[in-house]
């Protein structure tokens, strides 16, 4: 039987040393490397002691999925294959995780939507699968370009949902993500999202941990549910009683089961704070105007703040790292002095602004703009324009500023 602690200091078949994750992520020397986001996914996975990766091509995650195939050929991944569709892939991931494996997959846009039925199933079955979501457009007419609308569909699945801003976030959070989602009191799947192309296909300097260090293996014996057993829940429950029985106790058990999944999301808060150094990151929260967002909208916000500073306008920033668990308390505290909360987003519905409005007092302080979608870029100037307009300042009109 695997024991995580007993293997630390020993080597795997590739000669990597199983290392205490805190030491690996915080104390070990880092090597600056110039990589695309897709290459970063590969490098993180090289160090993740992953048992199974299941792939299916869909832009913009195809490159990462193919690169992980190379890792398999090199012997760093236990098993790797291509599923028949995204739905099949996510079902196969469930099978591997039910069997006690550390599982990884990647998807994007319509692939996420196609596989959607599996995500509440993963969460309900307490499977700590990690899924990279390289967000892109999901609606007709077809678009492969960056758009974060698909994240909003993941928010109520019971999965943990994190939104990386940079390739560095991506690298660190893939490895740290397993530490959070595999905690026995959490033990939930993680959707680690990034904005497709902006992160996956651009090169950035990323500080990598040593290649001869890797995560301790997953210990399935710490799972809050038994490994797959056709006679025990959740498997047996899927094929009969909760579905087939109509009585109070059957409903009550299912209700209690759902509550337990969301209780586990709540429990992830403590671990996420520990590993991510907080659920949010803030700058100048004493300013009258705050930009609050997640993903690369935060990067554009940073540039907007620089432009505003040149004009003598002070603006603060809140970067939201985790969407589930939702950092409501942290956002309430960070925004308590703000007169205006500007929420730039790469999607048409403004789901982030809605989440923030639901979390803070005086929600009319929230300006749900600017929005861009369908692959449009978000020039920092349109954030600047929105803020100046909010402050009642004269501003130049920019074309294509969205809703």
């Amino acid at each position: 039987m695997a024991d995580t602690h007993s293997v630390i200091g020993t080597k795997n078949k590739k000669g990597q040393t199983y290392t205490d994750t805190w030491q690996m992520m915080n104390d070990a020397p880092r090597t600056p490397s110039f990589f695309t986001g897709s290459e970063v996914i590969k490098e993180a996975l090289r160090r993740a002691s992953c048992d199974v990766m299941i792939a299916y091509p869909i832009t913009p995650q195809s490159e990462a999925a193919a690169l992980i195939g190379e890792l398999f050929a090199e012997g760093y991944i236990g098993d790797y294959f291509r599923g028949e569709s995204e739905f099949a892939v996510m079902s196969q991931c469930a099978g591997a995780a039910f069997g006690g494996a550390r599982v990884f997959t990647t998807t994007a846009g319509p692939g996420t939507m196609r596989a959607m039925e599996n995500f509440p199933m993963w969460a309900g079955a307490r499977l700590p699968i990690q899924m990279i979501v390289t967000c892109r457009g999901i609606n007709s007419p077809l678009s492969i370009q960056p758009d974060t609308l698909e994240i909003s569909y993941l928010l109520n699945t019971g999965m943990l949902v994190w939104h990386a801003e940079t390739a560095q976030d991506f690298y660190d959070w893939i490895l740290k993500g397993y530490m959070v989602s595999e905690e026995p009191d959490v033990h939930l799947p993680l959707a680690l999202c990034c904005d497709g192309f902006f992160v996956t296909h651009t090169k950035d300097v990323v500080n990598l941990t040593p290649v001869d260090m890797c995560l301790p293996p997953y210990d399935p014996y710490r799972s809050p549910v038994p490994c797959m057993d056709m006679e025990c829940p959740p498997v047996r429950m899927m094929r009969d009683p909760f579905v087939m029985k109509s009585n109070y106790i059957s409903y009550a058990t299912h209700a209690s089961w759902q509550q337990e999944v969301w209780a586990a999301v709540e429990r992830s808060r403590k671990h996420s704070i520990h590993w991510l150094n907080g659920l949010i990151e803030t700058e100048n929260t004493d300013a009258d105007v705050l930009i609050v967002s997640s993903g690369t909208a935060v990067s554009q916000g940073r540039e907007a703040i620089r432009l505003l500073e040149e004009e003598g306008i002070r603006c603060g920033l809140v970067k939201v790292k985790t969407l589930r668990p939702w950092p409501g308390e942290e956002i309430r505290e960070a925004t308590k002095n703000a007169k205006y909360i500007v929420v730039p987003e790469f999607n048409v519905t403004g789901w982030m602004a809605k989440e923030i409005k639901a979390s803070i007092p005086d929600s009319d302080r929230v300006i749900a703009a600017p929005h861009v979608c369908g692959g449009m870029t978000m020039p920092p100037e349109i954030i600047v324009e929105e803020i100046k307009k909010t402050l009642g300042m004269r501003t130049m009109s920019l074309a294509g500023r969205g809703s």
Binding site: H187, P224, P226, S250, S256
Partner: protein, 211 residues
């Protein structure tokens, strides 16, 4: 400060998960009582007191300790048996210590036999039938333990204790974490230490368990 407390029920038609009400799990070396973090030693004392106060103190061992799937499980099972024997020795006339297994998690229809087992999907049946007013979960997978603890809190007035091998349970009224043979034996010591010093509860509630 969080106002919610994890107390004996019946709490609600559908009680909330304590974690969703802001109750946090203890860190190593700690336990919780009613959702308030306490030093582990205080949790031993209170768990022993609740056992000795109850008319039907009961241990519910789960599959992780019922089957000798490794040496540690076998040793824990022996320690649990020791705790049960200690409890039997220490209770007063009129009290009845019980040991009822949760052998697996299969939903059983039309219903289980509550004389001989407890099931995580309808644990209230066993609590009601045996008029259990204090119980301890040990060796139950965390997810199933939380299901049960929440359902028990919802529909019975039974006091719940969790001797958890992992991070503990907010949905119990009292929880230990990182349960080991030593911790189970330590609880037995506390039961013996408090023998004769605790007054037995006299109240029987409508839900079948005494308060």
């Amino acid at each position: 400060m969080n106002q919610y407390r994890v107390l004996p029920g019946p709490e609600h038609f559908l009680p909330p998960a304590a974690a969703s009400m802001g109750i946090r799990l203890p860190n190593p070396g700690e336990g919780h009582i009613n959702g308030v973090i306490v030093p582990e030693e205080k949790a031993y004392e209170e768990a022993a007191r609740q056992f000795l106060m109850a008319k039907v103190p009961t241990i519910f061992p789960g599959p992780l300790v019922l089957w000798a799937w490794n040496d540690k499980a076998a040793k824990k099972a022996t320690a649990i048996r020791h705790l049960y024997e200690t409890l039997k020795e220490c209770v007063q006339p009129g009290q009845k210590a019980m040991l009822i297994p949760m052998p697996d998690y299969r939903p059983k229809y039309p219903k289980i036999n509550p004389e001989i087992e407890i099931n995580p999907n309808h644990p209230n049946l066993t609590i009601w039938h045996n008029k259990i007013d204090c119980c301890m979960f040990v060796g139950v997978h965390c997810h199933q333990a939380n299901l049960s603890l929440k359902i028990i809190r919802g529909g019975t007035s039974c006091y719940t204790v969790a001797m958890c091998a992992q991070a503990g349970h907010e949905d119990a009224m009292l929880s230990f974490r990182d349960a080991s043979v030593e911790k189970i034996m330590r609880l037995a010591e506390w039961v013996r230490k408090l023998k004769g010093s605790v007054k037995v509860s006299q109240v029987i509630s409508k839900s079948g368990a005494s308060n």
